[in-house]
Symmetry: D2
Subunit: 509 residues, 4 copies
């Protein structure tokens, strides 16, 4: 499927979409959504280009939808996502691959424990999705209501999406998902739970797939990027919409339901997805970083700065590189130290994946700062594009505001506007907030690092150095050892010094 | 003069102003400039309110135009600027006060050295400006062209503003000033040099005052804030325009000329202004910080977070406070340790003023990060204001997207939009870039800290501790000692341990 | 009293002191304690020097013991403490002044509420301490035992110091104070509670003064500095001892008891002390910073680096200055915005004082890093002092390891050893840990910032901007407004925009 | 060879070693050097343990000496070095492996260009070193004299080590190497140039191997660790000596000479070594980080802190983990993206390796801060080990200073001393300075990142986004593209979007 085929395919759906208070008659033709459609379309076009084939095509089709089976797959996914995001800022479509991996693992786990058949249902769905090469969104974040209460205890029962009723042929959903990236121009949405649940919350433990135009579903969306704004050099072409999706008694047939009440498994969907998704986010933001690095270098050039001499500006360029490659490295390491789960999914190492996501989440602000530093104040003070062709001022400005004499003003202002667009516009704001909170807020990553770190090993190491025996009379929490995973690198093993007797977190009897 | 009087007064001027490619017929009535006019108007209104009198009124009139004569004046200026900026984001008008102080000092210095009469001319102008209670902008930053060349060596002679010809009754200016804050809605502009000059650059050493509608002057401006955008809760009301000001043979009579060719004194204007202005910037950004602190607290409340319990969110609130009060403290210290110059101007301590400006310049990005952290991702994903009254979705959203049950959705979304406006919109981008580069980029502050620090004292201290005699055979650069200034605090003196024999920076032979 | 008089006075006491497992027969003559004695002695000598009089002498005698009564006093205290600490690293004796201020305020408060006579007792004691010009330590930190239990609930009742019995003529103390700075070479100790207490903990609410050789008191101390180590250029001369002080039924007569069971007032002693002490810490560490700045500059010179050219090294010097003056500024601001309490004590502003202490606590590590950066790796690899006079190697090393040709090796290695001593030795470790945890750990400062910040004002500001009425139906916690304090600066007032109706922290029903 | 065999082997050498001014009669028996000998011995013992075989043994023998030939080798080296350093702090011996890789590459390059036979000589030497399983130090850092002058222009010609004369059978060396890690207890030293050279400096372009007891060579060393200090829980057992090595006409036969005057190739030795060594440093410091993590966790436990509840302490633990695994990830990524050079050496990716080293260099100070934060102030205030058995105080202290009731004081103080030893003692100082400056100071890494980054690709990316043609009339500097390297991961390729036409750094004509 090419990008244009994808655009055409959108016409076969009739989703109920509002943008800025107005209903959108045709998603494929809506200017407000065009930058989002363009970004997704590029993932189709790139998969058709031979030179990108090793990255963009997996065995099962487009890399954006692939389930990783090895370190190679994970590394290739990283490079593929970085590639599409360095063209589009954020290509959005890869979230489905992350969700597929999580759903494969989680349904496998339920089936193994409870002899259900969610795994078969999901596999059938997955084959179809691959074969149709769909664009699929992930509807996870609930409205949540009062943060201090669990789903079933909310004053408003619809604060979390839930099963309103069960029918012989399927389930009926009610509630809302509050932040669904790219929703309007997807073919389908994957509904997933956003947290762990208790027995009381059983109706809220639901995972399924719904077509974007399922009856009863309404999408209230923001425009994608900055469509129609003349200064939006980049985000006038590529952008991302986010939507609130209201479910007003939406029916889902059983063959598309992958969790329906087994509340104990809700967190498996959430956490597995989080690990895959944070790993992928690393690559997405590295692609964004590539844009900043390139634009920053061009801007310094247009300003007449020689980076080999201007130490303080070069320092900021190096710092920008250090940040981007520093968090990308965590993605690579998470791929190498992946583990192979029972469903055959290669799961990125949780420590490295969460460290990488945490680094990008907080350092996106430093990236903006550094881009601004190398660019100078002109990016928010140069006249806008409407002025370029003003006969009263255009020629004069072009002459006066030139920097280096061999680079035309037009080129300088063009890069300046790109940097403003990426870092000092509403689009720049979106990138920073989404980097911070998307895929979970910093606390979520910190908790995952804490939960997964083999702290007991480190404690054991120190106790042996202190020539202590391990205290025998205490309860121990066995902490996960770092596993070498199914690392494809033969001969690379990471044994522990000794069979670890772990001692931390002794609770007082 | 009240705010409305100020608005009315603007009608008496006929400046040639373009915004977004279109000429503005009446500045006072232009919607694109209204947020800027509002921000300046507030500085008039506040001076009329009795409860603000100690802050907003100096002996010579409005505090925004006052020349500081003591530590008290500097402290009161800080509080006054913080006050007006916590209402408007940035009230713009105080730049004139900073420029007046610098011009008083610099003209005094030239007159003392060269027996010129710039000081008298300037005093006469100053009395008039005070008595007319004008709004005055500062036109300092030149277009600069190729950064590696001095003004007179530029391919384009107009890259820096300069004296094109001298007439018996005055001078004629040609060139441009590239970044003039608030220019369109000012009564006058103060033209100042932006750097040190050499003999060759004499024509570029020029300082004078011009009315905003001087023949030959064209202003190409950006809109102030985000006028007309429905989501611009705050910056639809208060904002800042910046303009490129083109000087196409603008005549200035001698009585308004305060530097005309005495190139040796160009840097005096620039550096004196920089010290005053950086000091003032500290207060301006503290006012902006107050807005973020208050809005962040309200947002957490609407989200249902109890800050006394949610340690990680409270941690971010405290960090935000730490940043804002941390750099504000530098402004206070610079006031206390001010020095009294020959013209009777109280000059803020350069170390503390530059440290404070440096801290705010880089930490504005952390302030955005922290505001985003405490607010959650909703600030860039909630539906826009056009959706509020959509009959198909409004009521539903209002019910679904409520956080804490006793706080209406309308209030939650209102604060969310305010935070988006302040930190994740084009206005947020403006605040960050202007904080970083306004009043000089970080390198400029670092150089000032370096130039002014009494490093010799510290070296002397260590040499005495090492029981070394001071090396006698070396050339010494006497570094400035920190002076107790004309600190109003009686009995507070900061003597040096011993008459300091300074030793650093010994050059070889 | 001169430094030597102080040394002599120590001979009149017979404290039971152990250092490194051995009893010390005479504190004044113990080499292990000499650096500590030297540091305290300097505070006596400096008070006798006329040029330091404005700083070192208050009306009541030595500044180290003075109770601040105005902004001037606070500013002078800061400069005095910075002065003595830039000679000694940490002069230790100023803690008594901080405690005196707190005890004056707290006893005044109890008396006012309970009609006790603690205030009179304390005033009498204070007059005597001033007149005798004593060196007095502060014994505050208890052993604490299990951190999750309150004092009275500890398995070991002696984990916190407490009143073991009450007698007609006084009280008997039992327990220990775990970290008492400079204890062995003090004349007396002030026993203070280290936390808030409950009714159950009444016996633990105790404040009093005890002579250092009170029967039943044992001091287990660390050596002060690095006495006797040949490479200890600085800390062989000046240092600090810390001691565990064991109280084994120590009798204290009533005239020296200032709290005995009034548990509600325990926290008043603790928190008031904390505010004064954190304010003072700022100056102490600024003095240490001065040493690093001077030594760093000398080291770069000896290495042959020209700081006007080597941008990256200069950048680190400026960063070091920025840190030191940045937190010092908070001390200045806390002095200016002090408040005058009912006992006539000028209390530094809690926000600025805690922000300053927090900044120094965490940035001391950056200060070490920067000092190392500018100095190069030689500081931990150059041969030690024993090698200087080795006939087989000394001359050769002196020739080979010279940096700049006009600076002898001996001078280079001397500065290198100073920097190692200050930052890469056990003394350097002490400075960093004490900066982090002394006067309370970072969490304590964060809580104080949170408790004291006028958050309600900021919320009110935003609510008015949003044109909201204040919600009438909610419970409000009135948050402290920033007070202008008894700032000596006439005309400097910090009014609130409007009588503030505060709205934050509305609890549900 | 076992650790004891290694100790025995040291007796076969008679190096001239001074420590603290005294000659060492037998290195193997010198208490001052024992911690260093222990650390090296462990690398022998571990290679004999079967469970460590995959890490510690390469095809050519001990991993510490192996030349990496693939990504696997690099990953295994990382894990092996982390393993030995988490036991010893720093095992020192791996530097030889880094130097071997660099020498193999550089000699191959000279031979290819100049038809010399350095490669054969070096291969013969290498086979012997492997077969003898030697401990070999790297003597690279010259004394350097005046930093602003090149080697041949120094006032003192011996400021850089150089060829004093050439004989038919070899060369004679004169000068000194200033910082040689572990020198006294090595069998041999590899002499390497520390910078690029010019034709004038030809005599300074020298690389060779010398036995540790070569006539004319004198080692002036610091003790290894903190031998004999009772509180040195860890560094009394494991430590590192650094030595100044004086070359006073040391003869080296031709078969051990690998560069002698071919100045153009000097930098090849230096830079190749730097890349390998920085990569290895990452693993070494990660091992040190493991010690801190484990010790920090034990200390919190002994203090009675429950990390699942105490959010602020847990936050610091997570931050410590984030730092350690964050820079370790860069080592992993550098291994995966390695390149295969003409000599068959797998060279770690220079960007990732330098980013990782830069991160550890600056963040070691944060690691200390965090370890201190979680441990509390007791680590520098608890009584020393001599007090433990003081009959007058020991039992009392043991009872009073206990934290959690089920953990004996003895265990608490033991961990506290370990943390003091690692972070707040002279050993802690050594670790921080060596991390900052070892393997090159931060500027060196920044320059390497800058030199190697494929900036042109990023610029090209942006130019295509801006739909610009590539400017045809400009000189281009072709910047290195990131290569997929000889990554062992099949199917993992990193193609560039399009044949890159690079445009940055256009110089004016």
């Amino acid at each position: 499927m090419s990008g244009n085929d994808y655009r055409e395919s959108l016409r076969r759906y009739r989703p109920k979409v509002y943008v800025n208070g107005h209903e959108v008659p045709s998603v494929a033709d809506a200017p407000q959504l065009a930058p989002g459609v363009n970004a997704v379309a590029l993932t189709y076009d790139y998969a058709l280009r031979e030179e990108f084939a090793p990255l963009m095509r997996a065995e099962t089709g487009n890399r954006m939808l692939a389930v990783p089976r090895s370190s190679q797959d994970l590394l290739n996914k990283l490079e593929a996502v970085r590639l599409v995001c360095q063209q589009t800022g954020c290509a959005q479509r890869y979230l489905a691959g992350d969700a597929f991996a999580a759903m494969l693992s989680a349904t496998h786990q339920i089936d193994a424990d409870l002899q259900t058949d969610y795994g078969d249902r999901f596999s059938a769905y997955l084959q179809q999705a691959w074969s149709d090469d769909l664009a699929i969104g992930v509807a996870m974040t609930d409205a949540k209501g009062d943060r201090t209460e669990r789903p079933a205890a909310q004053a408003n029962p619809d604060a979390y999406l839930h099963i309103a009723s069960r029918r012989p042929d399927g389930i009926v959903l009610r509630g809302a998902k509050a932040i669904v990236t790219g929703a309007p121009y997807m073919h389908e949405l994957l509904v997933m739970p956003c947290r762990n649940m208790t027995r009381m919350d059983a109706d809220y433990a639901v995972c399924c797939a719904v077509p974007i135009d399922a009856p009863g579903m309404t999408l209230v969306a923001r425009p994608a990027g900055r469509p129609g704004e003349p200064a939006a050099t980049f985000s006038g072409r590529y952008g991302q919409s986010t939507a609130v999706v209201i479910f007003d008694d939406v029916f889902v047939p059983w063959e598309r339901v992958f969790l329906a009440g087994e509340w104990q498994y809700s967190s498996a969907f959430t956490y597995e997805y989080a690990t895959h998704h944070r790993h992928t986010c690393i690559a997405a933001r590295a692609g964004f970083g590539d844009l900043l690095i390139g634009a920053g270098a061009l801007m310094t050039e247009a300003n007449g700065i020689d980076l080999d001499r201007a130490e303080n500006v070069r320092e900021s360029m190096v710092e920008l590189i250090r940040i981007v490659e520093g968090f990308y490295a965590c993605g690579v390491a998470a791929s190498v130290y992946c583990r192979d789960d029972a469903a055959g999914v290669a799961v990125p190492d949780a420590i490295f994946a969460n460290v990488g996501k945490l680094l990008l989440a907080t350092q996106i602000y430093d990236m903006h700062r550094l881009a601004h530093h190398v660019s100078g104040g002109l990016i928010v003070t140069l006249p806008g594009p409407e002025e370029d062709h003003n006969p009263a001022t255009g020629a004069k400005l072009s002459e006066l505001l030139k920097g280096r004499s061999d680079i035309p003003y037009e080129k300088r202002v063009e890069v300046a506007r790109l940097i403003e667009d990426l870092t000092a516009s509403s689009q720049g704001g979106w990138y920073s907030v989404i980097s911070l909170h998307g895929g979970g807020s910093p606390e979520a990553m910190k908790m995952e690092i804490w939960r997964n770190y083999p702290l007991g090993n480190k404690v054991d190491l120190v106790e042996r150095l202190l020539e202590r025996g391990v205290l025998a009379d205490t309860t121990r929490r066995i902490l996960k050892n770092r596993q070498p995973g199914r690392c494809c690198i033969e001969g690379c093993v990471v044994p522990l010094p000794e069979p670890a007797a772990l001692t931390l977190h002794r609770k007082k009897d």
